[in-house]
Symmetry: D2
């Protein structure tokens, strides 16, 4: 049934298959009065798009987005925003032989059982190509949050296979094709990727996303917690298998005396929480981390079955990312932006009139 | 705004504060015709309820649930099911002194900023007491899934602080107050908890939940993926800071040739995926793991501020769990049941007529 | 499936059968900081409750509502508000003989086919008793709208069978058991009701609801129009068969030159529109009218079938309203309040920052 | 906020302004396995499209729909269906002078106050042009309901100004540009429309829609009743001011002994209810009627104000329908189809296993 929407007040609905004529979506709920042009979306789309470095798939898509509605004289009107990205480099012939095959690690088997029909060309609806629309929609949210709320949302590659990278510099993230924040790790990454290509294999990755300059109070108690909605959004990204907020799994071995971030007039003493308390933003930086599995499309032959249940040998041809985690950085930023935008609108719906004289200590620590 | 509901077709909405007259909820969307009495709910409520061992809070609640509607002659009618649990052991006096204090690691500060008013008695709406209703609602889902679909949902404590426990035996889980599946670890757990109590501190935990005998095809593509909805549900549990499906964060260092579970007519060759492919259940066991932070209510004094922004010393009195992860096992089971029930109904709405002759290989491996 | 909720940001979910232990509901999304006690709800509940005049059912229910959560020290906290009303005058024995009968005009036949099981006692979930919870929830919305937005929501009986009543005086509505705004019609109403009782028959009614002092701009374009959501809410009331906004069906024979309400600096020249343009409130009074069918529970014998498809004679015993339209006035007010409250919150989520210098002409006309 | 979606399981979301590059939408939740091509949608689009007779607007739009996703090898896949209709005949110059004017009876004034910005070209988002996407989406639902459930959904013009038309023949509806089911009324309609054009005025209309061969049991108790959702859907159509189910407002003067449709083994004795009991379909024909206001775009000069609050004279130029009710017939059919499709999916989610031996008497009467 209907599962192609996310968000309640800032709602994004998408459509499109990897090898259909186009992909696209509708952003419903963007407030009126924000300056917006396709340039605002294209920047992030270009960061995500394939074919930009030798480390990602050779498929080339222009990913040129069109805004079909909701913007008048370069300003949002409050009407739903229609987005369209044509598919230009499809090469359907690459996929004909997998028509009746279930590629291991792919959604082929589950889609087939669920729907009884499968657009087998490049994964169809299950293709990561769908995430381009998320990035376009997320760019709208990012712009709004930056301009209206001062929030900055940025991601980076924190680990690729065995190579870990610390957040040395946000600026560095844009200077290399890995979204790597530590320039000293670029050589190791390059070397690892070369070996991976030689092996015909793929590898997993860890991506971190951070929202800075967060206000206090976003998120709804109980089920629609900010952290719960972030977990949902991140886990909805293709290949993501795990999500952490703040210290994440490290809390298992932590003591309460260590974990609790003490409050002082100058700010929180630490940020183990990762920016939420009781599911509501605390004003601390929002720290989100996720794991992306290695892409299952590799050139090492494997075993599988076909639609008749027969044993087959399978080699995934075509052009694929050896590490889907690399291009996931702008996608993760987009998803965080969509969730935050939704909660911003939800927050102001209910709590517009709330005023407390208690200081926002996280803000104190920033000033 | 409205954030107290979860699910679309099997929808659970809850209300209630720790120290109000009662907590409760509404389960909307339970199919008609299922036998149901309060006994079916009470079993899981008793597993969660406080005061059952020396390792959990000394607060004693009967947690006796009443079914107020939706059941006629011990059978569900398809009408919404009203649930009510009275609060019996409240002791509001315990909490009066924290009225203007923000306890570190608690939702006090964020609720105050968000709402401008706070039911400070025992955490109010942010109290884990709210999870009792989840357990009651989840018990309805668990029963339906077991009886109609043959699915079994079971959880266990996989780690408490430094003490790890493997799944040695499901039966063992019920034989000890830790929900520990490995009897050889009970002594270590007991010892660790004694020391913790002596220290006046708390510790985190890892809880695993497994759904066995899963059908293929549950979950919706793109945003409403089964794994994404599970991540949302788990992260909505108080204190949860991280969620994994299948191999989780271990995939970061995995190769694609290792991770992909090959398909054979006799079943999947492994279960790195943890039961979903493309966000849709594969028929493999559903493997979910989560981290719960150490409770912030400890007797070690800490620093904080009050509602006027002044520095204060704080010691959390009252009766608290030194490890909230222990009692989280039935809660995690309940949340997984709610998500699965919702997706079961969603699946049959859209795909009732789908029939494929392709064998369900996961089922093969079970037979 | 789940159909027991209404509203998106101000969401009301209800449960309860006519002859169960209690009915109740959850109001999720009420902003924090509003003074609220059960007295605020009881006033409207008393207006709706049965047994208050000889013109309504002799069933006596105290309809005493309890607020179980979401209110702390007589102030809303922003948490979900649990409402409970116990059923006190049930007399289940009255209904035993209709166990296998389908009463004409009732939901017996459709519930039976839909669910395969039916709580036959007094209509079960299909009983108008369910509307008591709507009235309680609506009272919260009415209070908020009145105090925060200055909106007044009032209804009246506009027609009962052949007896029509004009809006002579709002004050008069409270002075008689018919909610009739024209004192000159009371005798005719009394006479008609006496005859109806003598005949053992029932009759339909028209109820009007008006919201005055409306702001401009509430309602969302396209599907979630204010008028569309009002139509939904009103048609969801038991027995309602038709809904009009403004001139309603009279527009069929109107010319555009008549219908269009011209704008002047002093206000709209008329109110044919009934308070919405393009689905958005115009600041004109919101004019809603609805038709309620005659109750099907009459003592005139009728033909029907039973669950085995056999022909039966049927006489509805029990205590019933000869005109359900009378008690529908507070219900219709409540539903309008719920819709307006929801749209108020939705409006401020998206358009909080919108400011235009164009005068609100409807306000001009009021000043 | 987000208001451009309708439906829960069969969800339609639309975008697009009258004078933007394109309009379109996403149909999410269509079951897989149905044959579908653009031809299936084009038929209804052609019935709605402007410029087909001298009685409707002279604007000419091809309204050629493209299916961008969700259909593979002419079969639905279960993925979201992207629909696109380019705007070809826009003539933006026609609208420049109304940039700062509020046309009476239009949404200009309310959009301006709500959003602070307005796409003034042809009504922008408030234009009835948006309904083309509804018709395309509805055509998918109609096809599914016809082929899978045997339900036929048909509408007709029941009244135009003073000229009433009875349902003489369904076939006749397609033989004239008025969607008039009574050939004897065509001359009167033609004459009336000629006079209307001469007068430069417009007029209202009544449109009826009927669903035949309905199953028993669709619709959810309490808020999401079938009739309530129909009322919502119909009132969401531009210009609709009133909705009736079955006898509608005639019930106000009816007695219960008349209104209740008695049940016999051969079927219901009548259809006053219009196909629903307790908000659930009874198997009787679904009878829906609605009133459409006269279009406000007329060439008779009127008074209004501009964005600065100044008095202005206004004459609506451009090409407009003198009676929007005429082209509303396929729109009303589409909306009914969307609602029924949604409730079909909802019904089978919850009640798939329900089986009663009680005969479906409505079906009896059809055989």
């Amino acid at each position: 049934m209907a599962g192609n929407s996310i968000g309640q007040l800032f709602k994004v609905t998408t459509f499109g298959e990897s090898h259909g004529p186009a992909i696209g979506g509708i952003v419903d709920g963007c407030p009126p009065g924000m300056a917006l042009t396709t340039d605002d979306l294209q920047l992030d789309l270009d960061r995500r798009k394939p074919g930009t470095s030798r480390y990602t798939t050779a498929r080339r898509e222009e990913d040129a987005v069109k805004i079909l509605s909701g913007v008048f004289e370069n300003t949002t009107t409050g009407a739903s925003i229609g987005l369209l990205i044509e598919n230009t480099d499809q090469r359907s012939q690459d996929y004909s032989e997998i028509k009746e095959q279930f590629r291991p690690g792919h959604a082929d088997y589950t889609y087939w059982h669920k729907f009884g029909i499968r657009d087998y060309r490049g994964g169809g609806r299950s293709s990561a190509r769908e995430t381009a629309v998320r990035v376009a929609a997320g760019a709208i949210a990012k712009k709004y949050l930056r301009e209206q709320c001062g929030i900055e949302i940025r991601g980076y590659l924190a680990q690729l296979g065995p190579v870990k990278a610390d957040l040395v510099s946000w600026d560095e993230v844009h200077n290399n094709p890995f979204f790597c924040p530590d320039p000293s790790k670029l050589e190791a990454l390059d070397e690892y990727m070369r070996q991976l290509k030689k092996d015909g294999d793929s590898v997993g990755a860890r991506v971190n996303v951070v929202a800075t300059n967060m206000p206090v109070g976003w998120g709804e108690p109980v089920f629609d917690r900010l952290d719960a909605d972030i977990a949902h959004a991140m886990m909805s990204i293709n290949a993501v298998k795990a999500v952490e907020i703040g210290d994440g799994f490290a809390v298992v071995e932590q003591r309460g005396s260590t974990h609790r971030d003490e409050l002082t007039p100058q700010g929180f003493s630490a940020n183990h929480a990762g920016g939420t308390l009781g599911g509501i933003s605390s004003g601390q930086d929002l720290l989100v981390s996720m794991a992306l599995k290695p892409t299952s499309s590799i050139s090492i032959p494997g075993k599988s079955i076909n639609t008749r249940g027969e044993v087959i040998d399978i080699v995934t041809k075509g052009r694929h990312d050896p590490c889907v985690g690399i291009r996931a950085v702008p996608i993760a930023e987009a998803m965080l932006a969509i969730v935050l935008m939704d909660h911003y609108l939800r927050h102001r719906a209910q709590n517009m009139h709330v005023q407390v004289t208690t200081p926002d200590i996280a803000r104190n620590s920033r000033d």
